[in-house]
Symmetry: C2
Subunit: 341 residues, 2 copies
DNA sequence: CTGAAAGCGCTTACAG
DNA sequence: CTGAAAGCGCTTACAG
């Protein structure tokens, strides 16, 4: 009954056209702001739209026009504030392009990612921005290319032939290492966790290269738990190495936050007895005590870039693929001090 | 050219039907898993789908069926981890119902919210979950009701006649106050910030009622900056009151994190010289030192509840409105100690 | 259980 | 600048 009412009441473009004494095609042109329509006609149509309370039906338009003004965004995790910031940047740009974003969570699982991408296709998104789940095969992206579904990779990349927006993680690592070296640290640990993907490897390699080029031991890499709550209790790992580190670089600020607590629990004073440096520079970094020195990767800006890449590709599907890699920035605060050996 | 190719190549239900030697209607029934189709016929159709690489066209289906399997979610902020967790809960449930979520950011601005809701309508979402922007007028929700667009409010509520999913903020405040009182605190400040909306007022009233019912001064409410980075510097406000508080309850964990730094900067030891209690219990609470005692409001669970309310309403548009208000839980950690006066 | 027909509300050429 | 016609790919009654 209800939906029957709704249907019956629905005012269509034809109703508008009739009331304005024009054809449906003309009314359609007015709505799409075509310059082909005369000012007087346009006004009549707009009045009719107002009077009738006409609502544009994207569903019908997309069917005919073969585009939906909809883009998909799939991320491995919605709970992590980092992805929230990324999403925020994407949404802002997509919105200002008059489009809308459909968001989905892959849980960093390739099977779910498969499902989610299929669903995106059925919903007829015009394109998708994907942070590929760990272990995504290149063949998966090839398949999407066969669908002719425009795609951009973000934060992690699998294929060189597909647009990518990210940050220069290796350079960020070099900034962190160089800074610690300038404070005379020589034995520096790198604490990592999480799944292994391009961003993971870039950070590891960045650390290694930077250490080696300074003639330092590049092998002190230790894995800590994924869950923030358990990281503090893994701090002892720092003190079970063959050599005693005086500083630790963290894969991300989550680890930095966790180790910061663990160091405190051991009675160490971060920035005095031990130096700690984070990665990502989430908002908490500034609020911590001592304030956390961290390498900023600006996720909001990455999101905006990813969205712009997709918009550009939609405009020209044939353009060559681009990689836009943002510079990172070291935010020096209080969590590092001179090496005291 | 490209899109022409795509169009030409598109395999439709009619192609599938022909290949399987059935009518289009029958093929449609198979896709929608209707029990009306015989097993042998079903299999033939499924083989044809496989062989042809048929992709279901939601756009066409939604037009005919008058529903889109799409729900809108509009939040005032995507950057705040709290909303990320809410969104995560919503997405999980909506996904498992075979639907998809369109997300939008109102920026907590009524004008943008207006725009965004209009866009949602044009896109034909089946319903929307809204965290209303501060200063949303009840008339705004009435208008949406006139659109016959199913709606559920979350975290904040404007109208009693519309479904709502939230937490019992007032009870949470009472838990915080009672706990501090049990440690003999008598002069307790309440630090707030942000826009004023139902959740704001509920916390304020919850604080006041709890304090008054213990015979304590319920008026020590102070506003701190919205931005985390600036909160620490507002800590002095705590020490410019007519009476000297021995504890502060924070409107949320962001404030708690900020004041925790500010207290540290003044040489105070949280949990010894001064007690601090947060609200929301974000993941950081456990990682801070001293560990932050906080009232948990479980945003993921609120998101799931909101999604379930919407699903239920979609199933029965006429059902009476419901309010589902989750219990909060006090997570006692290390940031509170006995009053030392 | 299956088929032929109508129609959802728009946009796109094509004429004029 | 405007109009008449066709069609996007499905689902929904209605017959059989």
């Amino acid at each position: 009954m209800l939906s029957a009412d709704r249907k019956k009441n629905r005012v269509t473009l034809l109703d508008v056209a009739r009331r304005a004494n024009v054809s449906r095609a003309t009314a359609s042109l007015v709505i799409r702001k075509s310059p082909l329509v005369g000012a007087e006609t346009r006004q009549r149509v707009e009045e009719a739209i107002q009077a009738l309370g006409y609502v544009y039906n994207m569903g019908a338009a997309r069917m005919r026009a073969e585009r939906s003004r909809t883009v998909g965004v799939v991320v491995p995790n919605l709970t992590n504030p980092f992805f929230g910031e990324l999403l925020s940047g994407i949404e802002a740009l997509i919105d200002s392009a008059g489009m809308v974003v459909i968001v989905a969570n892959s849980g960093d699982l390739v099977e779910r990612q498969d499902l989610v991408m299929r669903r995106m296709r059925e919903h007829g998104v015009d394109g998708v921005i994907l942070c590929p789940a760990a272990d995504t095969e290149p063949a998966f992206l090839d398949r999407i290319a066969e669908w002719e579904l425009p795609l951009v990779q973000t934060l992690r990349h699998i294929s060189e032939e597909i647009d990518y927006a990210g940050a220069d993680y290796a350079a960020g690592m070099r900034q962190a290492v160089d800074y610690l070296a300038s404070l005379d640290h020589e034995t520096i640990a790198f604490a990592v966790h999480g799944p292994m993907h391009s961003a993971y490897h870039e950070r590891i390699e960045g650390f290694r290269d930077a250490m080696r080029s300074l003639g330092l031991n590049a092998n002190m890499i230790l894995r800590v738990p994924d869950q923030l709550a358990q990281i503090a209790d893994a701090t002892h790992l720092l003190f079970e190495q063959t050599e005693q580190p005086t500083a630790v670089i963290c894969f991300n600020d989550v680890i930095a936050l966790g180790l910061s607590g663990g160091l405190y629990d051991r009675g160490l004073q971060v920035g005095r007895n031990f130096s700690l440096i984070g990665f990502d520079d989430v908002t908490d970094a500034e609020a911590l005590r001592p304030r956390l020195t961290s390498v900023s990767t600006a996720p909001v800006a990455i999101g905006e870039t990813a969205a712009q890449l997709l918009l550009d590709r939609l405009a020209d599907p044939a353009r060559p693929p681009r990689r836009v890699v943002q510079e990172t920035q070291l935010r020096v605060r209080q969590s590092c001090g001179p090496a005291t050996v």
